[in-house]
Subunit: 171 residues, 2 copies
């Protein structure tokens, strides 16, 4: 069994390096080719939000150093290299917390739902306002083209001064 | 006018250094002597939450490296040196976001309300389960002793396995 596992790992490793070299099956979004940036979970927080409705999630919005600097300084449009990571979690009430509060009031982050990545590259993504998008579930790039097309379709409806970004920085 | 400002700044600077030396008027919480840690806004995110009821806020919970490592590895009790920063903002609906969504659904962070700091030091804070607390509004330590006493009174009602901490890490 140990031997089989080792063989299977070997095959997986070969598979990964082929993918990395060939590009065809890399873990990137369709249309934009956006990957999950290394270390994004350790990035600084831009803000937090709750989306009710169909999403019903609570989210933390993180940014790499370029994005966070631009948010803090109000630089618009965002400079190339800005990356925003939107981490969403199931929005759920917390009976544990409510038990120690005066009233039921506590809503917390449950299981992660998905991570959306926005990458600013004004040349590469000129056709979508300079932004490329990716959505990841459990670290795997969602391959739905209609889903990815909906990113720009929605962001482009924002006021132009926002450079296609929903989030505002929370001090 | 410029001269007056310079003199005023000079006085303020002297005031600050006296405070730092004397300790009596430092910007620290009563009971615990907890100050606002330098650079806390850049710390990594632990999780997010929404408190309805009287608080009516949305919050990001950040931690220093020691705290975040303990959260990730499930280390309980938290090691000395762990610091948790809970940043709360007015919970508000976003007409701007809702205008581009199919339904009104978007709630975002408004103005900051307060920042609560929890510092783990099992010796210094032995009488409060190893945690010292501070609350800051606009960077200024709240001097209400009843408020500060309510921190431990509330946290101590949690299950013992949580080491007096509400937050759970969101991956």
């Amino acid at each position: 069994m140990r031997k089989l596992t080792a063989v299977a790992s070997g095959i997986a490793a070969i598979g990964l390096s082929v993918a990395a070299a060939g590009g065809a099956t890399e873990n990137v979004s369709p249309i934009y080719g956006v990957s999950l940036p290394e270390g994004y979970r350790g990035w600084q927080m831009i803000t937090v939000a709750h989306e009710a409705g169909k999403n019903n999630d609570i989210r933390g919005i993180l940014g790499n150093d370029i994005a966070v600097k631009a948010f803090r300084e109000g630089t618009r449009p965002f400079p190339d290299g800005s990356v925003i990571a939107r981490l969403a979690y199931v929005y759920k009430s917390s009976p544990e917390n409510d038990a120690v509060f005066p009233t039921p009031q506590s809503f917390v982050a449950g299981a992660p739902t998905n991570v959306q990545i926005s990458v600013k590259d004004s040349k590469r993504y000129a056709e979508s306002g300079g932004w490329g998008y990716g959505q990841f579930e459990n670290g795997v790039a969602n391959q739905s083209e209609p889903l990815l097309k909906s990113c720009f379709a929605c962001h482009t409806r924002l006021d132009r001064s926002k450079d296609l970004v929903f989030s505002q920085y929370s001090p």
